[in-house]
Symmetry: C2
Subunit: 229 residues, 2 copies
């Protein structure tokens, strides 16, 4: 199985350790502060106090054998960069690091960090998108070539059963849910729009005008579907 090293046990680092351990992964947890390592030792057997900028100390811990290292040092940009350099020079396959700001992140990328994390910025984007999206889902990338995405039903589908549309054969996509809006009057006499979802629709279900289709398929087919009239 793969071995992980987490360097820096702030909130981000500790959260990475907890999640990896909860999934049964082998994790070495490192911090320069005793207290943090003590807390981590309640979660993983391998928790050590090390200044990660000291290459000898890292090697003695067998860090050069891990498959993935996650650097979670935030405020001390210099240490974060130095540790990244050391780990890449040691030949560790995958090094992931959080960055304090974009300049920090750019330097980490130049060193060979494969993924730079900006927790505050990334979560800001996610929270904002979650607020805007009244869709079931905006777009989820399942792999680099396939997605799940909501698409307005093409006019040519309206009035037809799913069986007749034969989406899988004709368009290479799978319609996994249909969202339809209907108007409802609330207890103050206001008209409000409500959504109904037809999940795993039946072959006999008929598409109506303005239905939103939750669709799964490869990205090229999704693009073609969107340009259908």
């Amino acid at each position: 199985g793969r071995q992980f090293a987490v360097i820096g046990l702030g909130q981000f680092g500790m959260s990475v350790v907890k999640t990896l351990v909860a999934e049964g992964c082998d994790v070495i947890a490192i911090d320069i502060i005793d207290e943090k390592v003590k807390d981590a030792s309640e979660i993983t057997a391998h928790a050590v106090v090390i200044d990660a900028t000291e290459e000898k100390a890292l090697r003695m811990m067998g860090i050069s054998n891990v498959d993935v290292a996650i650097i979670c040092i935030g405020q001390n940009v210099q240490d974060s960069i130095l540790v990244a350099l050391i780990l890449k020079e040691m030949g560790i396959n995958t090094v992931i690091a959080k960055a304090l700001n974009e300049l920090h992140g750019k330097v980490l990328e130049k060193i060979g960090v494969s993924k730079v994390v900006y927790p505050e910025i990334d979560m800001g984007v996610r929270i904002a998108r979650g607020l805007i999206s009244s869709k079931i889902v905006e777009q989820i990338e399942i792999s680099s070539k396939h997605s799940i995405v909501e698409v307005l039903a093409p006019i040519s589908f309206v009035g037809k059963t799913l069986r007749k549309i034969d989406a899988r054969v004709k368009y290479g996509i799978n319609i996994i849910a249909i969202k339809r809006q209907y108007a409802k009057v609330d207890d103050q006499g206001n008209i409000i729009q409500k959504d109904i979802f037809d999940i795993t629709p039946a072959a006999e279900d008929i598409i109506a005008k303005d239905d939103m289709l939750l669709v799964f398929g490869n990205n090229d087919n999704i693009i073609k579907l969107r340009s259908l009239k």
Copy 2:
């Protein structure tokens, strides 16, 4: 359209503002520091310098009319809590706030904040899960009741066509992809496992032993599927 207020323009707050504005939303951006408001004014027309703990100042800005307020004050826990209290008493429908730690978060929930965000902790979980998952997808919650998840093919499915299994009718789930492993010899003579994906599988496709099924459906049905033999 809905109106948003973002209070506190650190990295998290600024990211929320940028994302909302990029999606065409109406955003009031507030901070006590001139410089931050000046940066925000390049993104949104409504950017004001206010101490958000001063209710009168908030009311003069028309904050009581927004539908959603996002409090992005991090270090100053007292201010964050006071602002949350003021906004809920003003009757703002949805108040979201980031929290410095779990105690801070619990207090915010008691006040009526509908969603508490822990950027460092939440991103730690996401990054760790992304590292572990060699599956197409671990589990994606589509709504509070439906998910997309990878499931080992039950023995009773093996050797049958999808048509015969009739998953949608019999089990209320939609098999949207099949992942199968096969052994391949690399150029050094090592045997390596490779995955092949059958996306939007045909009705005549036959399930093999150890196939992983990417399944969409409601959570109860997914649980039942998992316990099938």
